[in-house]
């Protein structure tokens, strides 16, 4: 039993080793300890999807995990999508389709769509709607987001 631990994670290809309090959520660890503030926190209880990241390749809510649970894992956050100044095709599609307004929910939608398209490269509109049903956007009305994800397929 312990209240503090040192953990090692790989995030977007970089290895980080940090001491953490065991009650620190993975989302807070990414944002506050590693300075990766692209991952956003909306509801902090698993409803809004803004904090979605990839844990060993699978999309998960980073607010519903403790940082200590990610010890040894490989993570990808929204910062890992672009190559330097070159936006990822999915990000380009979001830009082209006006799939964001305030942008708060966008990191969660991007990571959700990234994981979804990896598994379902040529989705139907119905599949896209189902895939993003766990992410909340209060600006766009979702239609541009659906269009962006459909445009990026393949």
């Amino acid at each position: 039993m312990s209240t503090h631990r040192t953990i090692a994670v790989i995030v977007n290809g970089h290895t980080y080793e940090r001491p953490v309090e065991v009650r620190r959520t993975l989302a807070d660890f990414l944002r506050d300890d590693l300075g990766l503030t692209g991952t956003h926190l909306g509801c902090e209880h698993g409803v809004c999807g803004a904090c979605t990241i990839l844990l060993d390749g699978e999309a998960v809510r980073s607010c519903l995990m403790l940082a200590v649970q990610a010890d040894g894992a490989t993570l990808m956050t929204v910062e890992g999508l672009a190559q330097g100044d070159q936006l990822h095709p999915l990000q380009q599609a979001f830009q082209a389709q006006h799939a964001l307004q305030c942008g708060f929910c966008t990191p969660g939608f991007l990571m959700t769509a990234y994981a979804f398209l990896k598994e379902t490269p040529a989705p139907t509109e119905a599949q896209v709607r189902d895939a993003i049903s766990g992410n909340i956007c209060r600006c766009t009305g979702y239609l541009p987001i659906i269009q962006a994800i459909l445009k990026d397929r393949g």
Partner: protein
């Protein structure tokens, strides 16, 4: 920090986990997928002194067939693993069909079969499926292993027969009987929400297309999922025609004793319970006759 302070351990073998449960008893919570516990801790509605993280108990994370054709599912198996498992789709089609109804895929990537059972939300799909399929729950402590049938496992709202020193290590599903028609239906406001009302139907026909056995389980209508024996009795030995199904819908509405809450009134749940039971039975009947989904 969102959660209140706690002590944490992530044991890598079962004996170690059980010893910790024995030591901390009801001051400890078991952390599996965390999709229900972590929200409660983030909101500080749950403030356990000790958190026993079982995610490194890899022996609880596999699905195995037993010699009689049943399925033994480790308590830590992720919902998403079951959803993707061709073994489950063949061996237990109802369980496979229930998976996409649980939360969202990001939730199912972490959420476990055992966690959902032990959390025992009365509107959750998995407890209803467990009751419908007559699942058995293997509970381990440092002192003993005991096996509890699903019908006795779910006690009340968020309450099961599991003791603070016990861990749900395995869920055992008896062999699927070929030819069984099945369906799971639910009504909810949005995709991924907990059901306002849901129904699981299993139907077997005899050689003359009459109902040999029907099993009807409703959820979201009280403290635990409930079977409706009166409706099942009405169907046994009879043709599942419109008249029988109409009567069953009425019986279900009468038998249910749901509560009113923020999401729906008791009257609504009774009405919808009857309608959805009928819909589930119709879909199950179609499958029993060799058809596919309506």
């Amino acid at each position: 920090m969102k959660p209140a302070p706690f002590e944490y351990a992530a044991p890598t073998d079962l004996a170690e986990a059980l010893a910790l449960l024995d030591r901390y008893g009801d001051e400890a919570k078991v952390l599996a997928g965390g999709q229900s516990l972590m929200p409660l801790m983030n909101l500080r509605l749950a403030r356990p002194r000790a958190l026993i993280d079982i995610n490194r108990l890899s022996t609880l994370a596999s699905i195995a067939s037993d010699p009689q054709g049943g399925l033994n599912i480790g308590g830590l198996v992720r919902q998403r693993t079951v959803e993707r498992s061709s073994q489950v789709h063949v061996a237990h089609p109802l369980l496979a069909a229930a998976m996409p109804l649980i939360g969202h895929f990001q939730i199912r990537n972490r959420g476990t079969i055992g966690g959902s059972m032990v959390h025992a939300d009365p509107a959750a799909e998995l407890p209803a499926v467990a009751i419908a399929l007559r699942a058995e729950f293997v509970l381990r402590s440092t002192r003993q292993e005991r096996i509890v049938p699903a019908g006795a496992f779910f006690v009340s709202y968020l309450t099961t027969a599991i003791q603070p020193t016990e861990l749900l290590t395995e869920i055992r599903l008896p062999a699927w009987i070929p030819g069984t028609g099945w369906a799971i239906e639910e009504v909810c406001r949005r995709t991924g929400d907990f059901a306002l009302v849901g129904a699981v139907a299993l139907v077997r026909l005899d050689g003359r297309a009459a109902c040999q056995e029907a099993r009807l389980t409703l959820f979201g209508v009280g403290g635990t999922p409930v079977r409706i024996p009166k409706a099942e009795d009405r169907l046994r030995g009879h043709a599942l025609d419109d008249r029988a199904l109409g009567e069953v819908a009425r019986i279900v509405s009468e038998e249910l004793q749901p509560d009113t809450d923020l999401h729906a009134s008791a009257e609504y749940r009774k009405e919808v319970g009857g309608a959805i039971a009928r819909r589930a039975l119709q879909a199950a009947l179609l499958r029993a006759n060799g058809g596919t989904r309506v």
